[in-house]
Symmetry: C2
Subunit: 180 residues, 2 copies
């Protein structure tokens, strides 16, 4: 069974960014080092198109699947770069077909949410940086209703179990690891 | 100098509740015990009117200052219960006059935000419960513009320093303590 690992850095108040295009310039060096080491143990990175655009260079040597609403069918842009629309394919079959075993989910909010809604987060590595933005983009985006959709589409309660706590540096970046 | 201590329980994704009137039924027993012990060391509890309404009984024996937009001037309802509108008084002078030294800030989002905006959070006790709501009320509410106000009213970056990490129970409720 492939293992899906969500990796995120958040502020004390649960923000992953101040706004769109605000990537990880605010996270600690120690978190970046940790994330890079973890990614190297994964077979592929899943990332949303907006977030991908902020990290093309650091991700250029990794296998990437980019979630994009505009991809009608899977589009292979290069040997290690595939664009898909998860709503238009059987995503789990695709992963099986490609033979990936450890899948890193790198965000942003809509991508994390897709995996949460589909019960596909097996592990969550969460770094909490000792800063408060007060406002910004939350870890998860609330589910959006399709045009004409009326049901009360909601997240439920997703329970996790903490398996590790690690202080990453002196100012107090904390890494929490959860399992489903 | 009075010390202002914000105390909050959040989900992994930074929510303090699923919606209005959703109080602390989802937090762990260990967090409730910890919070009660901490409140007993404080001289007064500051709480927003909506949040207060969900916790009248457990707070009935504590000194409470309730933040309410409808309080024109401070209204003393009983020996230990005072309603104030923080925008219409000099709050720090009031605290000095009343002689309080340790002030517990219990939320909700608008109350936490008022203290954040006014640089009055000296310490933050944050319990992270191992659950994800996906959607709900964030720890801080973004500042609201008054009618006619046009300025770019924004939160800044509020940096804190982690001074304590404590695992509260087996499922993995984690207490983080930060100082300004």
């Amino acid at each position: 069974m492939p293992k899906y690992i969500a990796i995120a850095a958040i502020t004390i108040d649960g923000k992953i960014a101040k706004g769109l295009n605000h990537m990880s310039d605010w996270t600690s060096k120690e978190d970046k080092l940790f994330m890079r080491a973890l990614l190297s143990k994964c077979d592929v990175v899943i990332i949303g198109n907006n977030t991908y655009k902020t990290a093309i260079k650091p991700l250029s040597k990794r296998n990437c699947i980019v979630f994009s609403k505009s991809a009608g069918r899977p589009v292979r842009k290069s040997a290690n770069l595939l664009y898909v629309n998860p709503k238009k394919i059987n995503f789990k079959s695709l992963i099986t077909k490609l033979g990936y075993k450890k899948i890193a989910i790198l965000g942003g909010a809509q991508t994390y949410s897709w995996f949460l809604e589909n019960n596909l987060i097996d592990e969550l590595y969460l770094t909490i940086e000792p800063i408060i933005f007060g406002t910004g983009i939350n870890l998860f985006a609330p589910p959006r209703l399709a045009p004409g959709e009326t049901g009360n589409k909601k997240f439920g309660d997703f329970k996790f179990k903490l398996v590790e706590i690690k202080k990453l540096n002196k100012t107090g970046s904390v890494l929490l690891r959860y399992k489903k």
